[in-house]
């Protein structure tokens, strides 16, 4: 086999390898559809974030409008500070509320935004004031049991 044929095969191999990488990054990781360049950051405080993780989606009306970029614990207020990167094409009013929701029963947790009616829009570095914490299953169950017990007592008295 002479040299030029080897070069051709090696060239094909390198092209195929790079094409494989490109396939992985574009088709599998979907790198293209989510550009990180045009975003603005807002923060929200929660008493309990449940199982929320960094990179969790932020959705409004079910559409992904941003991602969670940072989760921190504030030792002064004892709250979690969640930083969110929102895409600049999506502007939200200043009185938007943020909820921690779960997709499905056992699915991943995400942040749901509900737009308010304020005329002023959220800017870089703003804080979302209206927040609703994650629902902790144990608390829910204990509340349910407590209510049941209270109901039972009420019945006996009658």
């Amino acid at each position: 086999m002479n040299r030029s044929t080897i070069d051709l095969w090696v060239g094909l191999f390198v092209v195929a390898g790079l094409a494989g990488l490109l396939f992985l990054s574009l088709k599998v990781a979907n790198l293209a559809s989510f550009s990180t360049s045009n975003t603005y950051m807002v923060q929200a405080n929660f008493l309990n974030i449940g199982g929320l993780k960094i990179r969790a989606p932020v959705k409004s009306a079910g559409v992904v409008v941003g991602r969670v970029t940072d989760i921190r614990f504030d030792t002064e207020t004892y709250k979690a500070i969640v930083s969110i990167n929102l895409e600049s094409i999506y502007q939200f009013p200043r009185d938007t509320s943020a909820k921690i929701l779960t997709s499905g029963i056992l699915g991943e947790q995400y942040i749901g935004l509900e737009a308010g009616g304020d005329g002023v829009m959220l800017k870089q570095g703003d804080r979302i004031r209206l927040t609703q914490d994650a629902v902790v299953l144990e608390n829910l169950i204990s509340q349910f049991l407590f209510n049941k017990a209270a109901e039972g007592k009420g019945d006996e008295k009658k």
Binding site: D7, F13, V14, A16, A19, L21, L24, I54, P57
Partner: protein, 267 residues
């Protein structure tokens, strides 16, 4: 009597450990020398290209076929488990994540070690046994720069490309089983995969793994070949050692890298 036997045994053990450390030191110095003298491998890139052909292009068939089958098996097995929880749409996530993070680099590395690593060791060992290496030294040609460095860089360049092709082929194989055969929705297959697989966290880490494995496997292969006793038996032992040590090195390094990359759910 018993004491002398015990002492002899202890001495043998000590000698074994010392010689192992000795060899490790020699191998590290060898790697340093190799990297420092790899100018020729890049100035005369033809030499490296020929080695990429031997290590990479000729490994393509085995890598692609294994990738296809591994992906298909993953898909079948994953479906068995996922459909019990009514989550068969997550099949794409399962196949893609396990291939990109683990199986792609590791299985491609193991195949590469047995397909290309053993060939490199045997080739260099035989060159040494037939005194071609000494002949080069006589002609004032540095055998490490002329023979070893192109093989090393050829392997290091080929390995990430092979791992990427393995993963891509595996995902294609998983798709073939999941969508046309089992009947998972094609849109859900891809969109769930795209939502779960992250570029820097999953794909880039997989590429880093494959580069590390490439360096480890080819380093072991060229060193074992260069260090082999110049006899038929020596070369055969060196070839065996290349496959065994590099397979163990891949699995151990994979554990270390995984522990570094994927621990801590909140990152």
């Amino acid at each position: 009597m018993a004491l002398t036997a015990l002492r002899a045994r202890l001495e043998r053990l000590g000698g074994l450990v010392t010689s192992m450390v000795w060899r490790l030191g020699y191998a590290s110095r060898f790697l340093g020398y190799l990297v420092a003298h790899s100018g020729t491998a890049f100035r005369r890139f033809r030499l490296t290209v020929a080695e990429i052909y031997f290590a990479g292009v000729l490994s393509l068939i085995i890598i692609l076929v294994s990738g296809l089958f591994v992906g298909m098996v993953l898909s079948l097995q994953g479906y068995e488990t996922l459909q019990r929880f009514g989550a068969s749409e997550s099949l794409g996530v399962l196949v893609a994540l396990s291939l990109v993070r683990e199986l792609g680099p590791v299985v491609a590395g193991l195949l590469f070690a047995s397909r290309a690593g053993s060939a490199i060791t045997a080739e260099i060992g035989l060159m040494k046994a037939t005194e071609q290496i000494s002949a080069m030294e006589m002609m004032a040609v540095d055998p490490i720069a002329r023979v070893v460095a192109p093989r090393f860089w050829g392997g290091v360049i080929s390995m990430p490309l092979l791992a990427a092709l393995f993963s891509a082929m595996g995902i294609f194989g998983g798709y073939l089983i999941a969508v046309p055969l089992i009947g998972v929705d094609s849109g859900a297959f891809w969109s769930q995969m795209q939502a779960a697989v992250d570029f820097s966290n999953d794909i880039l880490n997989g590429v880093i793994k494959s580069v590390v494995f490439g360096v480890a496997v080819t380093w072991i292969a060229v060193f074992e070949g260069y260090d082999a006793p110049p006899t038929a038996e020596g070369v055969s032992h060196a070839t065996t050692r290349t496959v065994v040590i590099s397979s163990l090195a891949i699995l151990a390094l994979d554990f270390v890298l995984t522990a570094l990359m994927f621990t801590g759910g909140n990152r």
